[in-house]
């Protein structure tokens, strides 16, 4: 079991109903964890539609997670 700190933004924040989570998981990768959360909170975006940031940097979906990681899933951006 590892503990992951999650922050949620935009549509994922709305679906989650809060800004952050301290989440206990056995998921190996960022992608695995996303699938777990997607099922739990019915996130409307597939892994292909999003990116992930780990500890403040864009990262690959198959990055391995470790306890204490800060993870943010990034819906399609639309600045400007």
């Amino acid at each position: 079991m590892k503990n992951i700190h999650l922050q949620y933004f935009a549509i994922l924040r709305e679906f989650r109903g809060q800004n952050e989570d301290s989440w206990e998981t056995t998921a190996a990768t960022a992608g695995d964890l996303y699938e777990e959360l997607k099922t739990e909170f019915k996130f409307p975006l597939t892994q292909k539609q999003i990116r992930v940031a780990i500890n403040g940097e864009f990262s690959a979906m198959d990055s391995l997670l470790k306890t204490g990681d800060e993870v943010v899933y990034i819906p399609p951006v639309a600045g400007g």
């Binding site: 549509i11 679906f15 109903g17 409307p44 940031a53 403040g56 819906p75 951006v77 600045g79 400007g80």
Partner: protein, 149 residues
């Protein structure tokens, strides 16, 4: 050291305060882009907008884009300010300014920066429509789900 050249602000702003900071006697060309909040988008009447940012990564990625522009183009300076929070029609959502010796490079860099900012910086835009509906831009197919919340 270039960390403050890309800024996020929750306050309404006018660009000319920032232009003054770019004054440089070697610069012959200043080019700017401003994104203004429009009253419509894709056939819908827009009443207001909300921008939400992931601040840590938005600042990092924004600064990276400005650094890339400095490296790719023969410019003197470039800056970008992006609003967050609730914006009314007509407000400035984003400002990009570039200075260069010559206009060619100033234009190209300015265009590069706004294109990259829009596609890479973790900022999201929610449109509030005149009919009371709302939706996250670039997330149209999720719209049917949003209404449950």
């Amino acid at each position: 050291m270039k960390a403050n050249l890309f800024q996020l602000t929750s306050q309404s702003f006018q660009a000319h305060h920032f232009v003054r900071e770019m004054e440089n006697h070697a610069a012959g060309a200043y080019t700017s882009f401003e994104g203004w909040v429009r009253n419509h988008n894709e056939g819908k009447d827009v009443a207001s907008l909300e921008y939400e940012a992931y601040p840590d990564l938005a600042l990092k990625e924004g600064c990276r884009i400005l650094a890339e522009a400095l490296e790719k183009f023969d410019i003197i300076d470039s800056r970008c300010i992006h609003r967050t929070g609730h914006l009314q029609i007509g407000e400035i959502a984003v400002w990009v300014g570039t200075t260069a010796k010559h206009r060619e490079e100033a234009f190209t860099a300015c265009r590069y920066i706004i294109d990259e900012v829009k596609s890479r910086v973790p900022i999201w835009k929610k449109e509030h429509y005149a009919d009371g509906d709302s939706g996250w831009v670039k997330c149209e197919h999720c719209a049917s789900h949003i209404h449950r919340h």
